[in-house]
Symmetry: C2
Subunit: 193 residues, 2 copies
């Protein structure tokens, strides 16, 4: 587990043994069962999540309906907006599968950043990369139809389609479960014809 983390960090900055030990003393690793709710609407939180194994999702409940907006799998960091804005959360975060998560606290991060300015640089680069990546995803979503979005997902994150229930995938694609069913049937029909 440690190795996975340090390998990841080494892509951005080089750590001394002292720095590695400082990190390990922070009690970052947590095992969490499928279905566990990590964050609820209305709650204030300072926690960020980083799945080393497993998958977590973010969802809103609007008019009594779950609207899934994102999935975070291995090595994809989630810092909920409420942690940044310091306001109660608008959404829920829960585990799609049994997970091993790295859970960090923003106070703790501030402390580490103060002690080791190197981390500031890493966090900046990480945020910039995520921002660019998310921008591209958003653009792709805007410029394509539900069917194209599904085909893109099939290309880019085929694992998700296996790991995640259809109705959660559907709202992730911006449509209803019935429409996703129909759309899949349509694609199969096209492949035949």
């Amino acid at each position: 587990m440690k190795t996975i983390l340090f390998d990841f960090i080494s892509k951005y900055i080089t750590l001394t043994e002292e720095e590695k030990n400082a990190l390990l003393n922070l009690d970052l690793f947590h095992s969490v069962k499928k279905g566990t709710i990590l964050l609820s609407e209305g709650q204030k939180s300072k926690e960020s999540y980083f799945p080393l194994k497993g998958c977590i999702r973010t969802y809103y409940i609007l008019d009594g309906e779950e609207k899934t907006t994102a999935f975070y799998t291995e090595m994809e960091a989630l810092t909920p907006p409420c942690v940044i804005s310091k306001t109660p959360s608008d959404y829920y975060v829960s585990c799609v599968e049994d997970c091993i998560l790295l859970v960090s606290n923003s106070d703790m991060e501030a402390e580490v950043n103060r002690k080791f300015p190197k981390f500031d640089t890493m966090c900046r680069i990480l945020s910039e990369e995520l921002l660019a990546k998310q921008r591209i995803d958003f653009d792709a979503f805007k410029t394509s139809s539900p069917e194209q979005r599904y085909l893109n997902l099939l290309q880019n994150r085929p694992d998700l389609i296996q790991r995640v229930p259809q109705h959660q995938l559907a709202s992730y694609l911006g449509i209803k479960p019935q429409s996703l069913s129909r759309l899949r049937a349509r694609i199969v029909e096209k492949d035949k014809g």
Copy 2:
């Protein structure tokens, strides 16, 4: 112009006179005419843009059609994904209006960050804020219909609807210009009834 910039920065970090002067020596401010293309598809660029006045937009050309994905107005920073990924750009950036832009270069930023580590911190915070903000926008887009998106825009960025041509707004909302026209007519009709 300087004042606007320093007021903005002062929300994040406190600058010494030396640091302010270092910034001002960088030739950051540029006046740009409406319609100017700042970045083209296929081009490699290291430039970020920050409108002090005016509005710029990002758009793709897909199947010969312009797809507008974002507008950046006063005090909204744009670092194109190609600057982060160091690959040729997938999209265009152009001026919707005559603009006064702060244009920075990623090499220059790296230099400043090296000299004044404070800037690393500011950039980190800025990126984190933008990431959270963009996430919320993306979620709102996914969970709402074109009509709701238009009404949200009317609420949150009413200026855009005045400043920007309808056909650019339409693709920003993820629909065709004809659909936007119809949708607007529908809303007016509802207000009457």
